[in-house]
Structures are given as structure tokens and as C-alpha cells.
Symmetry: D2
Subunit: 345 residues, 4 copies
Amino acid sequence: MVKVAVVGASGYTGVELIRLLDAHPDVEISCVTSRQNAGEEISSVFPSLLSRIPLVCDPVDVDIIVDKADFVFTALPHKSAMEVVPDFLAAGKKVVDLSADYRLRNKEVYEHWYQEHTSPDLLAEAVYGLPEIYRDRIGDARLTANPGCYPTSVALALTPLIRSGLIDCSTLVVDSKSGTSGAGRSAKTGSLFCEVNEGFHAYGVGAHRHTPEIEQTLSDLAGEDVVISFTPHLLPVNRGILSTCYATLRKPVSTARLLSVFRDHYSREPFVRVHAEGSLPNVAYVRGSNFCDLGMVSDSRTGRVIVVSVIDNLIKGAAGQAVQNMNLMLGMKEATGLTALPVFP
Amino acid sequence: MVKVAVVGASGYTGVELIRLLDAHPDVEISCVTSRQNAGEEISSVFPSLLSRIPLVCDPVDVDIIVDKADFVFTALPHKSAMEVVPDFLAAGKKVVDLSADYRLRNKEVYEHWYQEHTSPDLLAEAVYGLPEIYRDRIGDARLTANPGCYPTSVALALTPLIRSGLIDCSTLVVDSKSGTSGAGRSAKTGSLFCEVNEGFHAYGVGAHRHTPEIEQTLSDLAGEDVVISFTPHLLPVNRGILSTCYATLRKPVSTARLLSVFRDHYSREPFVRVHAEGSLPNVAYVRGSNFCDLGMVSDSRTGRVIVVSVIDNLIKGAAGQAVQNMNLMLGMKEATGLTALPVFP
Amino acid sequence: MVKVAVVGASGYTGVELIRLLDAHPDVEISCVTSRQNAGEEISSVFPSLLSRIPLVCDPVDVDIIVDKADFVFTALPHKSAMEVVPDFLAAGKKVVDLSADYRLRNKEVYEHWYQEHTSPDLLAEAVYGLPEIYRDRIGDARLTANPGCYPTSVALALTPLIRSGLIDCSTLVVDSKSGTSGAGRSAKTGSLFCEVNEGFHAYGVGAHRHTPEIEQTLSDLAGEDVVISFTPHLLPVNRGILSTCYATLRKPVSTARLLSVFRDHYSREPFVRVHAEGSLPNVAYVRGSNFCDLGMVSDSRTGRVIVVSVIDNLIKGAAGQAVQNMNLMLGMKEATGLTALPVFP
Amino acid sequence: MVKVAVVGASGYTGVELIRLLDAHPDVEISCVTSRQNAGEEISSVFPSLLSRIPLVCDPVDVDIIVDKADFVFTALPHKSAMEVVPDFLAAGKKVVDLSADYRLRNKEVYEHWYQEHTSPDLLAEAVYGLPEIYRDRIGDARLTANPGCYPTSVALALTPLIRSGLIDCSTLVVDSKSGTSGAGRSAKTGSLFCEVNEGFHAYGVGAHRHTPEIEQTLSDLAGEDVVISFTPHLLPVNRGILSTCYATLRKPVSTARLLSVFRDHYSREPFVRVHAEGSLPNVAYVRGSNFCDLGMVSDSRTGRVIVVSVIDNLIKGAAGQAVQNMNLMLGMKEATGLTALPVFP
């Protein structure tokens, strides 16, 4: 049993890590931390854990964590993460960081979209933790930068199209919609039930911080700089991201042919499912699971392909992918602890 | 007091027409019809009307309706509408038809996307009831074809951009999201609470029947054939449509300049509101009202403009716009009965 | 046109008052205040008001308010209200106070459930603003204490039963469920979308502050001290309260007979609607309106009557009832500005 | 590996059985049936099962089922269940029946609330499958009648109170609220998203079919006939039942003492959790799990105790309890396959 710590356990990603790790046969949660709830039982913060997770929250203290755990998940806000991640590595621990701090390889790009980077030396070492693209490197990593929720949904939707050279990457438009757990658990007026329920709006248009992260991956795939239009929206559901991706095809390709390209590309992936022609994914069909479902249509009227991808933003978009990365980093079977079917309805 | 009939009162658009007409000072609802609820009190179908709307549903019988009313709203499914609309006109009544039957001027286009048209002679006469574009013609119309909900949200978002020549119309991508009342009140598995709640999905990709209707209006505005990518999605809210529209700018234009173009264009419109720079509309801010709210961003990284529009699909997208058209057709003040503020939260 | 002030305009009750008063033909909103948003346009706080309510928020400054308005609505938290209400009265203004500060006639009871009362002298003068019970006194009042949302729903459900002597008041159990707008607009973790959505829980069991308010009214009606079990629950909807009230009948009475008692009792009330036998109210059927809908069943198996009442907590439970009280206090027709039908769906 | 059949797989309980059984280490789903979807892949009915459950729906044909499976779950509507259950038993299979057909021991009571019973001889043999009360008998059963969702939530809330003799059973009032999946997956207007969302209402007041089932269990516990007031309500959430139970205490008992009675009573139960004083359960904290959470308050003002219980209606209220019963009937560890933590948020 590997002892693991969940650093930043009082957010939605934290509690989801606890839920998934509790079901994992080969690890044991030995430490959970929380700045604001230090000293409290984690099951009083999240009564869903009652009677099953008897841990008390530690403060975010590196010595305590290093002492208690062999593997560390940092589920902290960006900036807070890079204040502690170097220490965990220095102490010989492996880390999956769920913040944005080590996702962008280019320090200048990071500092343009976020703020000063205080451990830029690790940027070259950190591996971007999207197994479907970077699996081999993750297995050897000490530090994995767990991808953002939107970037995961977009990269999986577009990889086969870019790799196959079927689309003109200068025409990419990505319209994404995220459930509200993506906004975190801090008490903000904009996240109140009455503000979100029965509402829907776009935000961060042309300026969302996941844009450079998406572009970094797509540029890797394309072998050239890719610039996209990315518009996120806030969806009145707890969980789920749906990304609708538009691109102009270089030449006419039928929907059936596109589906075949996708099925071939993902034939050995345990967590990517491709819908049949005429069927489109729904965030409700992946809720509670680590799946990414894909569906698509080739629109001959406009010469565009429309790919729709869905994930559970807290699982394949965060905690589930983090466990998948841990499995790879520890040499375990990649799908261990992640095989639960979606919870529908 | 003008006597009006609501033909097809047992759907969501029907009950919304009743609600709005009840608040209208210059009309009286003298007849409501329903195939499946004929003989029942409309307030037993919709208890929201209890104690206030003492009408019993008539069957959809032209003689009865013609006898009872001077002005007719047909809120029937397409195909059913064109079975009765010609009779109302023949009897000297004015009609606002809320179905799709008279929206497309070209019979072939209609028959390609729907089915055979049984009163094609009226297609030339019917006026497309989007007052912000076709106001002058509506005032003289006997038959107004009330626009679809998606087409209303898209046309209002794009009119100033197309009229001003700022965008390349061949690059238009429209990603729309509609509340579930748009799917109507018939009992279908896909509209069940547990299927829609906590879910989100695209549908009719590349094939939705509102596509030709949107293209007809945009082509009118552009003076050339416009073809768009249009993707609707089902939103787990009762009411509201949000359309996110992407287009490549012919040359760089700032967000401030775009907003100024929009404000000038809509300066005298009672129901179009343009958000300030940095603010974006939300379906929650128009719920229960006839407003269309617009916001936008010019994205210099990609050279695209993103315009976001929101309406209440049952009001500006259906019943409210129908009343607005009636007001114009009867020479009343256009905003009469439609001045209620949005219901928030 | 009477000039009215909405003191405390940045909460959900505040914006609902603005919406209703904007539709009122005989008043003009001349002043809105907000501590945290002073100096901002109220339409930037609530974009639903865009283009229609051009007011800037004043601070909560008695001199400014007294100068601008003839009639004052105080929509402040309890304790804050009694800091300013005496000043408005002293300046000769009439006031509807929507806080709890003047609802309880007994200072000791108030101080037991809330905190010290700083203007106890007004407790005797203030009239409890439930028109269906205290209408005559409201007409003469300078200060009306607008009832709480739960107490309104419960009092209207039980008045005919108590007045008619049909029930044993010692057996009253009231199980109430409220939409989340009742929790206000302040940013608390417990009011976040992800905490409320797909959730449901009881709170304040045996200890909710509306209990003494309900008991005060029921005791008035019964002519003896009434003590009840009252359990509120948080409902994942924006608006609406449903109270399910249980009482043992003194002797067997049929449902039909009970309905007849209720219909007689409320025959001249514009805002109380009694459902037919076999039909029960739904919060969805009163949303956006000032109605209270009632339904009931006499259960011969247990000898109990179950009465179900629903209101929109922001309207009949707050802003709408406040306007109803204002109408009475100003000698206007009681239903003025409050005749809009419910917004369904 | 025991081969199990899910008869009636196209409803919400069916798909939940599949989800839970798929995670069970010692069984294999060898047969799924559906009247309306016979011949279709179950993963096309429920795309949540895509790529993981490769079964095609069989018709409800006893021979096929008996041939393919050793253990049968019947998730059929009442009446349909008793048409096939006797055949499965005759073929030597063990059965958990999730319908109401074998829950009531008294044929006359069944026929009063439902309709004629066609296999009344099995009523005496069938064991009511609430392990926390009838565990011993379930282990020996051929046929277990899986309890209704409401009855499970109520029985677990009241068992310690009745067993301990602390309450007057003639005063029981049970106010329950259920998520919409409890209404099933058939296409009815009343289950449409727009009818349920933002709505809340009581139904079946004094007449719900779960009433005699609850009373049968409570009478067993009390050793005398217990009659209750039971009022169900429809909650706009997918999953979850909360029951608020009121009873008069025979003598004053503190909340702390009550909690201690409950903790003792349930100390060895894997699926019942008792909240600490001051904390109350929420349906959100059990969603996706087999837990029943309990909280309570002793109200000295009224002499009543209020117990609140929550379950996931599809799990502890249906499929999860069915698997728990199967485990007992097959001599497996009772909690096998049921240890997943709740999915929050």
C-alpha cells in the first residue's frame, strides 16, 4: 500500500481525490490537509465521508506531509502549489500537481497569463499529464502537471484530427461549457445557487487562462503554432464539461470516415469512447466516471467538422486523471481504481 | 378591446401567450383551443391560470374561432398551422403564426427541411416577424410568420455586424444553447427531468431546421447567400437561449468600436440592450421579459469577434415577439403589454 | 405618483421590490440604497434592470432617503432595520419594514429569538402586515411589519381551520420547504450552487426564528397560546415555499366540506386561490405572482387534515406583500401592480 | 462468479443494478431484458454503459432468463413481476423482486391498495428485504421482496424509537420528499423537465401505496397496529429521499440521549450513519452510495422528536439494497460491491 497525501482536501477536487483513492486497492490515504479546516475532521467538512474517512485535516505543512506520505497530490490554487511542490520533490516524493503552475513549459507564457513563477527550473522537468498523448513520459516523471479540465476535453477531441492532418488548424473555434464545480468551493456571489441555477453565460471570452495550455498541446500535435478561439460558459450542473469544436476540413471527409479515424486512434485507450454515427455524447453519460466520450459530424454544407467531447470535470478533468497519472508514475495498471461506470441519472 | 384567440393553448408557448395577453390593456382573450384538452378549463391544464382565466378549451375548429375572435395566434406544430391559417385569413382575420410554416419564403427550401407545403401561395405574402429588421412590412401584414427562437437570437446578434460590413460572412459559426421549454410539452423520454437535469448535449448538428431560417435572414442582410455552421444544445433550464456567434473581422476593430456600432444600430429599439465592455449577458437577466441582451469581445489574437446574445425563448423567442407583432399589425404602440422587467432570480 | 425608496436594494428582496414597483402605475422609485454598492448603478448590480432603472445606489443615509422619498421600504437584515426605521417615522414617512424587527409584539420574545431591541416602543404601534388577517389595521398604519415568508404560507394555510374551530391546535405539525432565494444573496458556502443543487436538507429544526412569529399569529386566531412543531428545509429551486400542515380534526370532516370552509373564508381575497378536490398546489404555479395557493385532504384513516400551501417567497412572502401593504397604507386599490399571472414554466 | 439477470433493465432501477453489479467482484451480469428495447444493445439505451456492458436486451422470456442466469433481479412494475417470479422460483432460481408484489404479507391489504394478486401463496414465503430488521430471514430466502424507497427511509428512521418504546406510535407524522427518478422513466407529462424543475408539490396525500408497507414494518416493530400520516412530495433532483418524521415522546428525552440510542442500535450496521448533534443529513451526502444517514432533534417546546433520514432512492431505496439482499442470500459478505463513497458534489 502506497501512502498518499491529498494536499488541499477541502475543495471539490480534494474530496473527489479522496473518494477515488478510497476505492483504489493499492493506496492508502495517510494525510489530508486544509488551510481553513486544519484540526477538523475531513468528514465534518464533507459529511459524505462520514464513518469511512477518519482523518483530521493537517495544516499545509511540508514536514508533516513528507513524514506521513510517499506520494503527494497537490490540489491547491495556482501560486500556492509552487510554494510547496519543490519541497516535496526535494524530499524524494513524487507529485501530481493539479494546479496550473507546471502546465506551461514556457515561463514567459506562464507569467503573461498568471503571475511570476517562483520555481521555473521545474518547468522543463514537469510532464504534462495527459496520458493519451504523453503516456510514455509520465511513467518516468517525478512531477506531473495534471491538465486543466477544459484542455483535457479539447485535446482529446482534436488529437486525431490534427495528427491525421485532416483539418486546417487556423480555423479552430472551441465553444466549451463547464459545470459549476469547476469554479471551486470558495464563497463568491457569482457561484451562489440563485445566480447559477436557471442561468447560463459566457465568461473570460478571448482571455481564459486555459487558452495557452490548450494551444501548447495542439501546437505539439500540429508541429506548428496553433492559435484558437476558446469561449467557456458556466453550466447550471454540478459536474461535466462539453466542448464543441469546429474546424474546416482540408478536403471533404464523411462522418463515417472521421469516426473510423477516431476509433483507430483511440482503440487501446481505456477511457476514451467514440459514439456511433448519429449519436452524440452527453455530460450525463460520463458523470462519476473517468471517461471522455466523443461524437462528431462532418457538415458538407460548410466544409467543417464539428467534434463534441464530454468529460466529468472533477474526474477525467481533475482527480481521475490525477489518479491515472499516479498509476503510471508508480508502475501500477493505468486503470486501477478508475473503472466505475458513470452514475446515471 | 380586440378579441384574440390563442389556437394551440396547451403548450408552453400557448400558456405564455395567455400570460402576456392577460396583461395587455387593449386586448381580451376570447378563445383558447386545444386538441387534447378540448372541453376542459384551461386553468385545469395550467393551474397557474386559476381564478383568473375562466375559459374552456375549444377544439381547433375554424368556425368557432372565427366567430369568437378578431385576431388569431396560431401556436400549433408546423404542418398543423398551415391547415388552418388560410381559413382565418379568408375569414378576414389577421394572424400571427408561431409555427415554421410561413417563415421560409422559398417553397423548395421549406419542403427540403420540412415536408410538402399545402398553402405555398401565402409564402410570398407572409411577413417574417422580426420587428428589428422587418418592422415596416409587419405593420401592413395580414399574416406574420413569427420567427423561431434560435433565429431571433442569432439575427439580433449579427445584424449590426453584417450591415456594417465588418465581418467575413463565410466564417460564421453559431453555437446556441436552449432551455428545455423549447422542446415543447409533449411527453418524450428525452425531455424527462432525469434525462435533462444535470445533463447537457448537442443535437441536430449540421441538420437543425432553424438553419435555413437563420440563413435566409442573414442573406437578406448581407445581400448575398450566407451559409453558417449552427449547433444547438439542450440546456437544463426552463427558459432561455444563448447564442455564441463567431466571425472573422475583415480588419481589426476594437471591442469598444464594435459596441458603439451596436449601440448606434439599436439606439431606438425598446427590446434590445447592449452590455457595457467587460460585461456579458446571461439568460437569467432576461427571463420573463421580451429583451434581447447582447455583449461582445473583439479578440485580437485570432482576428475574430465573438458576439453573445440571450433571450427568453418563450418571450422574445415566441410569445412576446408574437404580441409585439400583433401590436404593430393593429397599429398599437409596439411595446404595449411587454414592458415587464425580467424576473431575477 | 408617490415617490418610494427601496432601502437595501442589492438583495433578492430589493431587486424584486424594484421589479414590482416599476410595474406599479401610481408610484415612482426615487431612491435605492445599498451599503456595499453605494455609488454604483443598480443595473450593474442586477443587469436584469439594464436600460430601464437608471438609478445609482445611495448609501443607507437617512437624510438622503428622507429627502428623496415619501414612502420607504426597508429590506435590510434584522437589527439594521431598527437602526433606521424610527428616523423615517420621525421624518413623517410611512414605512413597510421587511425585516423581522417589528413583527413580534412582545419585546422579550423578540430578544429571546433575536437580540436586544433598540426601539421597543414601536412594537406596540407596528401592524403585522398580513392583509388577509389584519387588513383593517394596516390601512391606518404608519409602520407595517411585513411578515416572514414561512409565516405567511403557514398562516394562510391554517386561518380557516383555526377560525372554524375544526382542529385541535395542540397537534399542529408544519413541515416547510423553501427555495434558496430565501437564504439571501450573501456569499456563504452553504448557498453555493454545488452545495444546494441536487441536495435537500432540513435546518433549524425546533429552533427557527420564524416559529414565534407563526405562533403569535396562530395564537391570535385561536384566542389561546398555540405551540407548533416547525421544520424548514432548503429546496433546490430559486423561488417558492411549500408548507405541509398537519392537524388532528376535532371530529370527522370530509375534504369537500373543508374546501367549502376555505372557499367561503377566502371568497373575497384577490390573492388566495383554493384548489379543487383532488388537485394540489405546486410552487411552480405561483412563481412570479402574489398568489397563495391552497389544497387539502382530510385523511379519515388518521383523523388528520393535511393542508398544503404554496407562495413565491419573494413576492407573497416578501416584496409583493410589501406592495400590497403599501397600497393599503396609501389608500390605493389593494391589488394595484400585483395582478401579473405566474410565470410558468 | 454467479450469473445474474436484470429483468427490466431499461428503467432507472435497471441501469443502476447494472452499474452496481458491474462493480461487484463475485457476480457476472449474464442477461438483461427489456420489453420495449428487446434486440437493442443496452448501451444504446443507456450510453453511460458504452464500451463496458456489451449485452443485448432479451425479451422478458422466462426460458431465456432461466437458461442464462442463476440469480434473478426483477425490476418490473408491480403486477408484471408476479407474472414471472413464480416461474423463476419453480426453475430453482433465487429472486430479489424490486416490485411491490411480495412486500405486503396480507393478500387483502395488497388487493385493497393494488389489484388482484395472482400468486398469493408466495406472500407467506417472501421475506421483506430490509436487512437492518429482517437480516436473519433474508439469508435463508428464495424470494426477497425488496422494500420500497420511502418505506426504507422511514423504517430506518423509526426503528430505534419504536424498539426502545420512547414514542407514542399513534402520533406519527411522516413527511417525505423524493427525487424524480422515483417516478420512473416512462414518458409522462408530469415527469417532464419543465414541469418538475423549479417546482415542488405533494402528491398521493393520505393515499400513497407505500403507506401500508410502512405500517406493516412499524407494526412488526411495535407489536401492535401502527397507523401513520404519510405525505410524499416530488423533489426537483435526480436522486434522493429525505423523510422528516415527527412523533410525540412518551417522556422528555434529550437529543444527546436519542442519538446515543440510535448509535447503539446501529453500531454494527455498515450502511447506517448517525450524524452528530447539531448536524443534519442531506440527500447530497449519500448520492451514489448505499448509505442511510440519520439526524435528529428532541424539541422540548413541543415534546416531539423529529428524525430526518436520507437515502439515495435508487441505491439503498432500490438497487443497492437488492444487491445487499443478494449478498445475504448467496452467503457473500453483505457489503460486497457496495462500498463506494457518495459522489459529492
